[in-house]
């Protein structure tokens, strides 16, 4: 539900836009390291923080990492006594629930709540009692608590978008996809498969037209402004809304004009437009095939 747009978007290279927090939104192009993200949408005052210090994000109750030896001992005791029902990873098994985010476990610190359950069992739910010591249960607790728990907890998998067929991708590139109308595998795309170490960034670049990953850059839109007297001014589009248009010309000069009625006339060229237009119809198979093909262009 509530999430944070961690997409850092560089607004035309002019610096980060401080955005009104859109509730949710994630879209983290990189893996999230833990559960402790907050919303860095608008820089705000931090109560009591000395100036200049970047405070840590607000967090859920944070558990200090336990002694690895204790965690390991807990893992072994858990494995021998608990894993049959609760799974070797404590995330649930034959009859026993997922423990790492059970209400009781999340309110437990060092085994104090878990101990009662383990030593008395839960006969009504079919859990026998276990004759384990407080110290042994504390080590089990340390093991269970060592699992990352959070809505944005890091995952173990990696992205491997190479699921397509390069030959089909090549056919699409030169045929129905009309990629060859603007691009050439011996020209602008030469060696692109070798350039990108992150295939996901290559695929994102292919879709949006906007270089991503290690080559991250947002191309400028360009604009031609025609004034009432017929004079035209061209340049990189800096800002436009219903009331103003501004640009930076070839000499680096900034120009801005009010927009009133039909004047000035404004024509915007977005170099990414063909890519945007393509999003409406592109099929996932074509995306995967094209990506597989581009990767072969070493």
């Amino acid at each position: 539900m509530h999430r944070v747009k961690i997409v850092l978007f560089t607004l035309l290279g002019l610096g980060a836009a401080a955005l009104v927090a859109q509730q949710p939104s994630v879209s983290a192009p990189v893996q999230q390291p833990g559960a402790n993200q907050t919303t860095p949408s608008v820089p705000a005052q931090t109560p009591g923080a000395p100036p200049g210090r970047v405070p840590p994000p607000a967090a859920y109750p944070h558990r200090a990492p336990a002694d690895p030896a204790v965690v390991q001992r807990g893992r072994q005791i858990f494995s021998a006594n608990c894993s049959f029902c609760h799974g070797s990873d404590a995330r649930g098994g034959e009859g026993g629930p997922n423990l790492i985010r059970s209400e009781l476990v999340m309110n437990d610190n060092n085994g104090e709540l878990i101990t009662t359950v383990v030593q008395n069992g839960r006969p009504d739910k079919g859990m026998p009692k276990f004759d384990l010591s407080t110290e042994e249960i504390a080590s089990i607790a340390a093991f269970i608590h060592s699992a990352p728990v959070g809505g944005r907890a890091a995952t173990t998998g990696t992205v491997d978008p190479l699921v397509g067929d390069a030959k089909a991708g090549e056919a699409y590139f030169n045929g129905a996809g009309k990629c060859a109308t603007c691009h050439s595998v011996s020209g602008d795309l030469a060696g692109i498969g070798a350039k990108y170490t992150d295939i996901r960034a290559l695929q994102g670049t292919m879709l949006s037209g906007e270089p991503m990953g290690q080559f991250s850059a947002v191309p400028w839109k360009t604009v031609t402004v025609t004034l009432r007297n017929g004079q035209t001014v061209e340049g990189k589009l800096y800002q436009i809304d219903d009331f103003i248009v501004s640009l930076i010309d070839a000499d680096g000069n900034y120009h801005s004009y009010p927009r009133q009625g039909d004047y000035p006339k404004v024509v915007i060229k977005n170099p990414l437009q063909p890519h945007l237009d393509m999003l409406r119809t592109l099929k996932d198979d074509d995306i995967h095939n094209l990506t597989a093909y581009l990767v072969t262009l070493k």
Partner: protein, 561 residues
């Protein structure tokens, strides 16, 4: 004789109290649309955000000018502690259960309702509430809650009952303040912080009920609670998932474990029909959010519009805009209550533009489905509708290792920002963003799925942000106004309409704009920086004010006087 005199005296005291400029808000007054106040989240219970005021109108809106600005400083203020409280030196009242607050970055922007009652504004950001003089923006008091942490993404405002205010904190307290002084009356825990709940909703006062929601990004079960506004005692608690197998709705889950870890906290205030006594609200998405593998079925009552009896908390009906959601598309958007014609017959309707990009018209007495229609061109995740108008999800658009190109992204076509309905045009207005993302599945081990994890999402473009006007009778788009921008523009905007034939909203480029609700033509604007809440309007001293927020500041506008 003596007896009679006492009696007369009592009458005159009572009538005096009636006309004295009290600060209190009688909950009974909330059932009528207010013009001299903004007493609850949407201005009134209908959610339509339509003001009857006409002083500011199409003819004179060009003369709308700044009345005042008020910059608010959250946190432990340096002022108000060492000298006499007074102008520019309002007292800060500090609350909380720990000695030192967890440092917070972000969240210091106003992104909820600002109540205006008897000339005083009540405004919040996470952990902070202010009383502000609506005549000049002067801060009268500031309450600061020392937080234990939690997601500080926003606070949607206070609720008010007589002289008392209520707001939620990210670390899951409901705090009640004395509106006159900002002093705390009590605070109480509304959900378990250790289970990673966090609370943002503006409490809604209905009669002697205080409706309170809470959210969770892990997977703890969602619930809506009603408290006694006087004592803070719990009146009822409605879980947004069935509580045990066998209960109605449990057949839409594979087992108890998945059902009781299905998320779906209500995080946006709802609407209320005083005649039907029903409270309507949206629930959040199911969890794990981006994989349905462990939760086969429709997953009731996640991503649902729910109608509850406000006295009992019992379910009257539900409708699910996104059955078995797998893209974080909650149904948290504000539903709008309209009495209007449908198929030539007068009906009690509920209109809802959902995060998944579909607009729904329902009968709000029964929940009967009347209309489903996409309100964005970019949608590509559904294969059609079932017989009850639910969009059918295309499983090929679930996150996959190779990536699935999906519109909308997990933000949705719309988000929490409120829509508006104008009875003069018969149109429903909502700010839309026609965006695309690629959803990658990154977690092959379904046992490791929790909350919002297990995917990466790559935004790849937007067709644009629009204000979209929908004719609810047909579902047809009456007009769309492109929020042209050099970049992608900023987040969606909340909207408000008035009988002065004006539609107010932000344009995503830092402008506050008054549009013509008939066609979307801009009529007036001013550049504030991103408008971070939805505009409100009310009469004060014979002047109609328009109130907007940007970041940590409030801006009040009026015709030159």
């Amino acid at each position: 004789m003596k007896k009679t005199r006492t009696f007369l005296l009592m009458i005159s005291l009572v009538s005096l109290a009636g006309i004295a400029p009290a600060q209190g808000l009688d909950p009974a007054s909330l059932t009528k649309p207010a013009t001299d106040s903004w007493p609850t989240y949407s201005g009134d219970y209908s959610g339509r955000r339509f003001s009857l005021l006409t002083q500011i109108n199409q003819t004179n809106v060009k003369n709308l000018g700044l009345a005042w600005v008020s910059h608010l400083t959250p946190g432990m203020s340096a002022t108000g502690r060492f000298s006499r409280p007074g102008p520019g030196n309002a007292p800060t009242i500090v609350g909380g259960e720990i000695d030192e607050a967890v440092p917070v970055r972000g969240g210091g922007h106003i992104s909820g309702a600002v109540l205006q009652v008897n000339g005083i504004l009540y405004v919040t950001v996470p952990d902070n509430t202010w009383a502000v003089d609506a005549r000049n923006g002067e801060v009268l008091w500031h309450y600061y809650w020392k937080t234990k942490g939690g997601t500080h993404i926003g606070n949607r405002g206070v609720g008010m009952y007589h002289d008392w205010l209520y707001f939620e904190t990210p670390d899951d307290y409901l705090v009640s303040l004395d509106a006159k002084t900002g002093k705390e009356r009590w605070h109480k825990v509304i959900s378990d912080f250790n289970e990673q709940y966090f609370s943002t909703m503006a409490p809604i006062v209905i009669g002697n009920h205080l409706i309170v929601g809470t959210g969770d990004d892990l997977d703890a079960p969602g619930f809506l609670q009603s408290f006694d506004p006087e004592t803070g005692e719990l009146q009822w608690k409605f879980y947004t998932e069935p509580e045990k197998m066998g209960d109605p709705g449990s057949e839409t889950w594979p087992n108890l474990d998945s059902m009781r870890h299905g998320g779906a906290g209500p995080w946006v205030p709802g609407s209320y029909d005083p005649q039907l006594h029903l409270y309507y609200f949206g629930t959040a998405n199911p969890t794990p959010a981006f994989s349905g593998v462990t939760r086969a079925g429709d997953n009731l009552y996640t991503s649902c519009i729910v109608a509850l009896n406000v006295d009992t908390g019992k379910l009257a009906w539900y409708y699910q805009p996104s059955p078995h959601d797998t893209h974080d598309w909650d149904a948290g958007q504000t539903p709008i209550i309209v009495d209007g014609e449908f198929n030539g017959k007068p009906r009690k309707l509920l209109l809802d533009a959902s995060r998944n990009g579909y607009f729904f018209v329902l009968d709000r007495v029964t929940g009967e489905h009347l209309l489903s229609v996409p309100f964005a061109d970019s949608l590509n995740w559904s294969t059609g509708f079932d017989k009850s108008g639910h969009p059918i999800g295309n499983p090929e658009k679930d996150a996959s290792p190779g990536g699935a190109l999906v519109s909308p992204d997990s933000d949705g076509i719309v988000n929490w920002q409120p829509p508006t309905y104008d009875p003069q045009t018969g149109l429903f207005y909502v700010a839309t963003d026609e965006n695309y993302s690629v959803f990658y599945r990154t977690e092959p081990n379904v046992r490791a799925l929790q909350g919002l994890n297990g995917i990466q999402e790559q935004p790849v473009g937007t067709m644009g942000k629009f204000i979209t006007a929908i004719d609810y009778k047909t579902g047809k788009i009456a007009w769309r106004h492109l929020q042209v921008s050099a970049g992608e523009g900023s987040g969606n905007t909340g909207l408000t309409t008035t009988a002065g034939k004006l539609l107010f909203g932000g344009d995503g480029n830092g402008n506050l704009v008054a549009y013509d609700p008939a066609n979307g033509k801009p009529l007036w604007h001013t550049h504030l920086g991103q408008v971070s809440n939805a505009v409100e309007t009310y009469m004060l001293d014979g002047h109609q004010y328009v109130l907007a927020a940007s970041g940590d500041s409030l801006y009040a506008f009026a015709l030159n006087f």
